[in-house]
Symmetry: C2
Subunit: 208 residues, 2 copies
DNA sequence: GTATAATTACTATACCGTATCGTAAAGGAA
DNA sequence: TTCCTTTACGATACGGTATAGTAATTATAC
């Protein structure tokens, strides 16, 4: 497996590799994977978009699957946010960021791409889960666990259900084809929060 | 556009069409579309799987996109259920049926297939939305609207948010790669219900 | 000069859509 | 009943395009 970043400096005889080539290739690969899916992504087109030739690509990645996997490994799922002490507020911030990501060009398309490829190139969805799905969920779950530990949640509140509904509502909305309201994150958090918060504790949800 | 079902009886001179050929082709096309995606589905493979030759397929559908569209048009989103008078109960029944559908082989894969193809063959996701997405949502929404009209929901309960969370939680769960508990529908409905029901009205949710 | 990168050209294969030929099957006319 | 016309079907082949991956040659950096 070729390192995803170019090697640092010259390490031996012969022509050194251009430092920007790996990045350009990975960028092109990720874009095409997201927009066109794995099957339609082509090594010719990736090379062309990256401004190199195909053998140049093959010198770094042994196959199409290898390159697609490396491109996906460049993805980052989510960035931690500073805690405000208010769980609903933090959830909204996280989901607002998610909304931005998903509704950027190709934000949702990558999901379709890894899903459709699950049977043929399963390493793609595996990587996507590691890099994107689980980090996102972890962020949300941490907020909820803190709220729970702080006594803000009703007994038996189902955190898994909550996390999946928070994230999944965006997917479901996307599938409707309707325009996503800017208020969507707030609406979702408000509804979920009412379902899991301790009764009588709606506006003042402290985390630990 | 060729009718999706074979014509009824003989309508003119010449050899009549085999009544099972259309069905076999559509079945094969839908399976391949779901499992392999549109790009990887091939007319050669569909014809072969259906036990016919390519010209036979082309006699009925003018192009690959045409066939894929027709295959998708065979999909049905959801079947109405008899109302029990209890909204949570009805929601659970609907979602349990959805769970069965999604977690059947290829249940989720078709979603990935239409998503990844959105830019290239948008008629696929358009049809999927008409045939599957909107009917499913309508079923859930109707239950919720009845409950609202019956006074079971809190003022300002966000039905759109609820519907998207109910459905979307399955998608999000699928993306985790975890095994889906049999209790998932119940857990989701319970959590959503607590978020939208009139306070103090948790177990006795009457519809109109 | 040496080793590696990059370029150009190539092979093998798959696929879409179409054309052709021979046979099958139905209805209608003689 | 036989023959003719029409349409369907299987089998095969074809043209054109696209693509993964590779070989041979030229260029470049140290």
């Amino acid at each position: 497996m070729i390192p995803s970043s170019e090697t640092v400096g010259s390490t031996g005889p012969g022509r050194p590799r251009d430092p920007g080539v790996n990045r350009a290739i990975l960028k092109a690969a990720l874009r095409q994977l997201a927009e066109d899916g794995y099957s339609r992504m082509s090594m010719d087109a990736v090379a062309s978009e990256a401004g190199v030739t195909k053998p140049t690509v093959y010198r770094r990645w042994s196959s199409k699957a290898d390159l697609a996997t490396a491109a996906l490994a460049e993805l980052q799922g989510a960035e931690p946010i500073p805690s405000t002490g208010s769980a609903p507020s933090d959830l909204k911030t996280i989901l607002a960021a998610l909304q931005k990501t998903l509704f950027r060009p190709n934000g949702m398309a990558i999901i379709g791409a890894v899903m459709v490829e699950e049977r043929h190139t399963p390493e793609l969805i595996t990587l996507f889960r590691e890099r994107v799905v689980h980090p996102r969920r972890l962020l949300l779950r941490e907020v909820l666990e803190s709220a729970e530990a702080g006594g803000a949640l009703r007994a038996g509140a189902d955190l898994d259900a909550a996390v999946n509904m928070l994230i999944g509502s965006f997917y479901a909305h996307y599938l409707t084809g309707d325009k996503m309201p800017r208020t969507w994150a707030r609406r979702i958090v408000d509804t979920v929060w009412k379902g899991i918060a301790k009764p009588g504790r709606h506006r003042r949800a402290t985390r630990r």
